[in-house]
Symmetry: C2
Subunit: 393 residues, 2 copies
């Protein structure tokens, strides 16, 4: 049967990652390919208590339809946390609850992107954002991302000449690179965008996962009217509940709310209530501290092994948080070949190409450390280093 | 601040209903305006048991990321129910779990509608569909809906001359009108669409709520390749969990899955697991029977009072299921005025105009019966009939 599919869906990249993850999910595979939070750090006991409390005390309301913006006490909690962590005064009326932070990108695409509008994105950039925005058929303008953050000269040029609608970035522990923008880069970005029509979409999915617990000021602090922050409970409470939020100026949030209503009326209300109950009855900071310590341990262990065993020609980032390390092989070496070779030994890595919306990145790969224990990290790095030895690189 | 919002969001109607519902939510108001399932029929006790079972036995998996298509045992349950209820053999691979059936419309819009593509919709038509599709900037072609179903001559003309991408309809207990298509209309629709490029989007949110428990064959039965059914647990288990599904040919579902992944990765996995556990440990038919009986009682009571107290010039539909009755006042009388007058006496109805995507319908109104008890129905109908008396219509 030949169906009349839209132009947009034909332009949306199918998730290469999803196809790869199918191969790598066999139990015998040591997988650095995925992006899963460590399940041992999900606080199932306390979440069960919260679920029991909500359903037994107020089930009929918690299971009924609710408002598009989301449960007010949850929005208040989120607003207060912005004030506590970043010293920015968010109002609950600037917060709307979404299905994970992925849905934020869909809603932002809906309200901003007309066909061929410009969208600036980091290079490498988060694949989920490339997919979400592709639906609205923008023109992507990648800016190179390295050590301290995005190439701001490139950004300035694109912003002046192309007048893009959005710049999407992840200043804290970026996916896929693990890079955190320096304070200076954040200030520069705000200077470049200030007075323009370009809104910064500041994805902060990993902000809580800085190993040191320290925070850098979000760009939002310098650019309140032209910045939309997105956040998520996936990395700190539970990914399966698909709970995230948008924090945006009210004028933007009003349009987001119209788009959200058209998309699915509102997010799962039962789980909004459960998360709110969980957050208000427990000290989330205890759990976040545990996650940070565990991830730091795994990351440090992996980096130490990489430094010890990998040839100098294979470089890697040194993340201060998050879940990913970024590998760069010498020019001419393909991470797809590395993937194939490593899979022969039941080790999975994620080739970097899908993170380059304009092609390239053949010699890069994303390595996840959050979901493997020390034994598996040791085995996996050993397998990779042997491949590099054979290649004599 | 002037933001560069997309053309699409500026064309999407803001929910008039949502604004009205804010006014009508005061406790002293008898509201026929909303569309809420009756909360007393939500099986909170058994849902709590299911939640406890899932989180205590398999919490770490249930709270983790999952697949885009959704939890397989839930998709199997849904597929088997199609076979049991409608005698159509659905495959679990043709089912994808969504955030309520509203999200089905967003995903279908994404994969089919390019700007200015034709979309046929009932007149009056479901406002949520008008909103969801508007995001993708189609041209709407309304077909009149009355007694036995849509005007098929009009439909045939539109399909031949305009080659629309989609025809969206609700054959069972339509929202807002309460009309159920006759078997003949269903067959006619399939004859008209067969061999064309127009896909029928068959919204079956109310199919389980037929008072008699009897079913008519869905159009899907006659037109398997050109029909997408959408379904929902909102009316039979819980609306707050936002759980629905798409049932479509695999070639379509493959594109839906790409769009779903770009939209929010997957639906709330915890609640997919809870609903599956609830459905597999209980006989949902017992609860559905209770809902049907209760809604039938309320509907019959309301219709009897309307027949007794309303003037003959005010006509109403006689639903065989669902949650709504449709009122038509004599030409020249406005349901907005009726709304204002009734609100003075703390009774709320829903004016019909937003259900007409091409304007009109000023003399129509939607009346919900599922969420009021007999005492409130009596009081409310009394208030409306007094207004009609004053108007001498």
């Amino acid at each position: 049967m030949k169906y009349g599919f839209s132009a947009r869906i034909q332009k949306t990249p199918k998730s290469f990652i999803r196809e790869i993850l199918k191969v790598t999910q066999k139990p015998e595979v040591i997988s650095f390919a995925g992006g899963l939070p460590n399940p041992s750090l999900i606080d199932t006991e306390k979440i069960l208590e919260a679920a029991e409390e909500v359903i037994s005390k107020d089930g009929r309301n918690a299971l009924q339809y609710s408002t598009t913006e989301g449960y007010l006490p949850l929005r208040k909690y989120i607003a207060e946390r912005y004030s506590k962590r970043y010293g920015i005064k968010a109002d609950p009326d600037e917060i709307l609850i979404t299905n994970g932070s992925q849905q934020c990108l869909d809603l932002i695409g809906k309200i901003f992107i007309d066909k061929n509008d410009g969208v600036v994105i980091e290079r490498p950039g988060y694949l989920g954002a490339i997919q979400a925005f592709s639906i609205f058929e923008p023109e992507f303008f990648p800016v190179n991302l390295s050590g301290e953050g995005p190439d701001t000269e490139e950004l300035e040029r694109i912003v002046s000449y192309e007048n893009p609608k959005l710049f999407y970035g992840i200043p804290n522990s970026q996916n896929p690179s693990g890079i955190t923008y320096s304070k200076e880069k954040r200030k520069e970005i705000s200077d470049i965008l200030s007075g323009t029509d370009t809104v910064f979409v500041e994805d902060d999915a990993y902000g809580e996962l800085n190993f040191s617990g320290k925070t850098l000021p979000p760009v939002k602090k310098y650019l309140p009217e032209l910045d939309i922050m997105t956040g998520s409970f996936s990395k700190i409470v539970s990914p399966g509940m698909r709970m995230g939020w948008i924090y945006a100026p009210e004028e933007i949030l009003d349009k987001i709310s119209t788009a959200k209503q058209a998309s699915d009326l509102h997010s799962n209300y039962l789980c909004q209530r459960i998360i709110a109950e969980y957050l208000l009855s427990n000290n989330i900071d205890d759990n976040i501290k545990r996650i940070r310590e565990e991830y730091k341990k795994r990351c440090t262990y992996m980096i130490d092994l990489m430094n010890e065993k990998f040839p100098e020609s294979v470089s890697h980032t040194n993340p201060e948080g998050g879940m990913f390390i970024w590998l760069t092989l010498p020019k001419g070496y393909s991470s797809m070949t590395l993937f194939d070779k490593a899979m022969e030994k039941n080790v999975a890595i994620l080739p970097g190409t899908p993170f380059y919306c304009d092609g390239g990145g053949d010699n890069t790969a994303r390595i996840n450390f959050s979901n493997s224990d020390e034994k598996d990290i040791e085995k996996g790095i050993e397998v990779l280093s042997k491949i590099f030895s054979e290649w004599k690189i």
